[in-house]
Each structure stands twice: as C-alpha cells, then as structure tokens.
C-alpha cells in the first residue's frame, strides 16, 4: 500500500489511541508523526508489518516515552504509561501479539474534539486535524484563514484539552444525545463547507468521518442517517456543475449520478428508519432520497419539511417547504410562506424567491430578487447561473440607466 494511503487509513486510529493514553493531543501528534516517518523509511525496505496499526501505535508510544523522559514529567502520566516507562521502549515487533487488540478509540477522540467547552469553529478544525489527518495548511486553506490564525487556534485547543482535562470518553447516557448532536453538527458543517468547491475536498473528509462514526455507533439512528444524507447529496456532485455553471436538479444529467453511492445511501437510510426515531438527519436524508425519485412526491416532501421545521425551528427549512408547496398549490402559495421568513441575508432565499416570482408572472420583482441573489453569491458557478437567469428576465422599466446590466 502506498504510504500516503497508509497515512489516510490509519492516522485517526493511531492518534486516537495515543491521545487517550497520553491525555495530550499535541504530544500524541508529534509521536504519531514520528512513527509514520519511521514507517515511511522502513516499510518499503522491510515490508509492511502484519499489524500496521499495532506497529504504528507501539512505535509512536515509544517516541512519546522518550519525549516524556526528556521532559522529566513522568509522574503525572497514566499507570499504563508508567509501566512502559519503567521497562523502557520496546521494539514494535515485541508487541505484535497484543497489538491486535488495540482498541479503536477514535470515538473517544472525536467526543473530546467536539466538546462544548471548545468553540464550534475550533471543534471543526480540530476534528479535521486529528481524525481526518489534514495538515494545518490544508485546514487554513479550506476555511480561508491565514495559516498563523489556524495554527494558533489548533494549538490553543490542544492545550485547553490537556490543561482543563477535557475527557477522552464517550459521554454517559444522559449527556449522549446533546453531545452526539454536537459531533454530527461538526461533521455536517465539514461536509457543507466542502460544497463551495475549494482546494481541499472536505465533503470526502466528512463522508469518511461519517463512515467511521457509523461503524463505531451503529445503534444511533442519526449516525447512519447523516451518512446517508451526505452520500445522497454527494452522489450528484459530478452533475451539479456543467461548464462552470450550477445546474439545477431537474436539468442534471442523471447518467452522471453515482448510482453505487445512491444505493449505499438508501441502504443506510433504511437501516436508520428501522430505529423508530425521527431525528433531523433522518428527515433530511429521507427528503434527499425523495428528490431523486421521478416523478417527485411533493406532498410527502412538504410533509417531511413540516416535521423538520417543527423540530428545528429553522427558517431555511421553511424556505424549502415553500418550494414544495409551490409545486403542489402554485407559486403564489410558496411565495406566501417566503414572505413570512426573515432570511434577507441568505443568498439562496433570494434565488428561491426569484424563481417563484418568475413562475408567478411577476418579472419585475423576479429581476430584483435575482439581482440581490447575485450580489450575495459566493462562488463563480453560482454567479454564472444567476447571471444567466437575470439575462432571461426582463429588467423593470424603472431601473435607472447603468444599473440594468449585472456587474
């Protein structure tokens, strides 16, 4: 296996095991990085060990022991490590027997990274760094902040986890629903950040995190539901942009949809539905699935949006319900819902409204709404699409000269 593939596959697990033992992500990262560097040097020469994770964990733990010895800070560490410290570093091969039983502690790590005592943006960055193995450079690039800013944010977070003793543990039952919701929020934020089409494929990172969570928490219906939601959206990735322009769902080339991914998403959705609980991700995944069917069952879509709106109180969900209602009862019915919403800052609100106004035969208002959507649009493909729509809509007669063409 190529070494970067080894890194991708094992980084999260190796780091999680070390962080759990050491209670210190920074120390764990340094040691893990050294272990991967040693692997890069030795494995091509000596061959990959039978248990790569065990080899990497043991090697990294040895490096951490060296590091702690140098720091003369032995006493405070765990009993497990204290035993290792007494006997000194061991060759990784000596550990091959029990290495097979190295527990997967990624869940403990992700709950530490998504602890509510950390700011949400910090949770997101730290999760990408620790579980995803992204470099600080890549994370800074993905979130459009300077390297220094991201580096400071990550370092501060790692120190806070260590110094304040944020636990590396799956929360007890009474806290689990809230804490799991926080973890899923982080994963879904990562997924959506990836949509703008940056230099880093964050959607793929989020799906990978979703897969790990679905493996580790198979009994929580919202976990496979989130993975299903991401897979169903991501399956249309190749069809979503054509010639640098956003393509609406109905104009997409279905041959470009990833059928295998859709099947997997649907299987996960069925599994989540068997749980008898309707959380927000299950509802969203069910809606995403309904959107893929032809002809579209707008009544069911509208009903699911209504349940979701009641659960989340989100005006964006209401906006989406308005689109479904417009399909059932006509554009004016959808516009009546939109007019009640306070979403002026939200770019998709204006493009959604513009579309309904156009279909309602109100071109002047449609033009103004497209214009506002274009002002707020953040990516080039979105802007191209909106410019096209604007060009098809006659500008109102009252627009002063010079404002008639979009800038």
């Amino acid at each position: 296996m190529a070494l970067d593939a080894v890194f991708r596959e094992h980084w999260g697990r190796v780091l999680a095991t070390l962080a759990g033992v050491l209670g210190d992500i920074e120390l764990a990262e340094d040691a893990a990085a050294e272990a991967f560097a040693i692997a890069a040097e030795r494995w091509p020469r000596d061959g990959e060990p039978a248990n790569p994770v065990g080899w990497l964990v043991t090697t990294a733990r040895n490096r951490a022991i060296d590091q702690l010895r140098r720091r003369q800070a032995l006493a405070a560490k765990t009993a497990l490590l204290a035993r290792d410290l007494a006997t000194g570093p061991q060759p990784p091969e000596a550990r091959m027997d029990d290495a097979a039983e190295i527990p997967d502690e990624r869940l403990e790590l992700i709950f530490a990274c998504c602890h509510p005592a950390l700011a949400l943006e910090t949770q997101v960055a730290l999760t990408l760094r620790t579980l995803g193995g992204l470099s600080t450079d890549e994370i800074a690039l993905a979130f459009l902040v300077p390297f220094e800013t991201m580096s400071k944010r990550l370092t501060r977070a790692k120190h806070k986890i260590r110094d304040a003793a944020i636990p590396f543990a799956v929360p007890p039952d009474h806290q689990l629903p809230d804490r799991l919701a926080a973890v899923l929020t982080v994963v879904y934020l990562i997924f959506n950040q990836g949509w703008g089409g940056g230099a880093v494929d964050l959607a793929a990172e989020a799906i990978q995190l979703g897969r790990a969570l679905a493996d580790l928490m198979p009994d929580e219906p919202e976990v496979p539901a989130l993975l299903a939601l991401m897979l169903l959206h991501d399956a249309r990735k190749a069809a979503r942009v054509r010639d640098g322009q956003v393509v609406p769902l109905d104009d997409q080339d279905r041959a470009l949809w990833d059928e295998r991914q859709i099947d997997e998403g649907r299987a996960l959705l069925r599994r989540a539905m068997a749980g008898n609980r309707t959380g927000p991700y299950l509802l969203q995944a069910a809606i995403a699935d309904l959107y893929l069917h032809e002809p579209r069952d707008w009544r069911q879509i509208a009903a699911l949006y209504q349940t979701l709106a009641a659960q989340t109180g989100s005006p964006i969900v209401e906006m989406n319900r308005a689109v479904a209602v417009a399909e059932i009862n006509g554009p004016e019915a959808g516009l009546a819902i939109l007019d009640r919403l306070d979403l002026d800052h939200y770019r998709y609100f204006h493009s959604t409204r513009a579309d309904l106004l156009r279909r309602a035969g109100r071109p002047d208002e449609a033009w103004r709404a497209y214009r506002r959507a274009l002002d707020l649009a953040q990516t080039e493909p979105e802007q191209r699409f909106l410019r096209g729509r604007l060009a098809e809509t006659a500008p109102p007669a009252s627009i002063p000269p010079g404002r008639a063409s979009p800038s």
Binding site: A117, A164, A165, I166, P167, P171, Q175
Partner: protein, 114 residues
C-alpha cells in the same frame, strides 16, 4: 484534579456584603468536592499592582474594568472538565440572575494549602 470557579457578579449588585449566603448554596459549599471558597468585595475596593519592566505601578481599581466583577472564588475537586462543569452548573443554579462562573483548571492540578 482541582478547578477554580471564578464567580463574576453584576456591577448593579451592590448589596452582596450585607446578604447572607442562601442555605442551599451554603450546603453545596459544604460538600467534600469543595476544597475552599471565598467571597470578594466589589471592584471599587480593589487596588492593582502591575510589574512594568521592574517598576511597580499602583492603580486604583481592578485590573480589568468591566460590567461584571470578580465576586468570589471556589476551589473544587473533579476528575475532569465534565465533572467540574457539572459542579459549576449546580452552583450557578443557586446564584442570582446575571451571575457568571468561569471554570479554570488549577495549574499542576492542585492549589497550595488546599
């Protein structure tokens, strides 16, 4: 390990010194996970000494001037931050509206003399 809970009170609350500690709060402070506690007089009683490149500067008032002021300090034992946050939440329920509690891990895990 130990955590310091820093209690911040609203500047409008000037009657604190005259008010007894509520029974429920006193009972909670008597439990074994509380290693020590103290109430502090309001901001206006503070004097700040600052080390300015070896010279000592003395100013009238607290170091940080804000709407809230540091009104007390509770030292607690907890296994980890979750335990400390749970205790802080219990204590906060016994306080007046507008009160805030800042949770700080104690360096080296233990306060001197406690």
């Amino acid at each position: 390990m130990q955590y310091a809970l820093l209690i911040h009170a609203s500047a409008q609350d000037t009657e604190r010194a005259a008010r007894p500690i509520p029974d429920a709060l006193a009972a909670r402070l008597g439990q074994p996970d509380v290693a020590g506690w103290t109430r502090l007089h309001a901001d206006e009683s503070a004097t700040t000494l600052r080390n300015d490149d070896g010279r000592t500067l003395l100013t009238d008032g607290p170091f940080i001037d804000s709407k809230e002021y540091l009104a007390g300090l509770i030292l607690i034992e907890a296994d980890n931050l979750d335990g400390a946050l749970a205790t802080a939440r219990e204590l906060l329920e016994q306080t007046r509206p507008g009160t805030a509690i800042e949770v700080r891990p104690v360096l080296d895990g233990r306060a001197r003399g406690a």
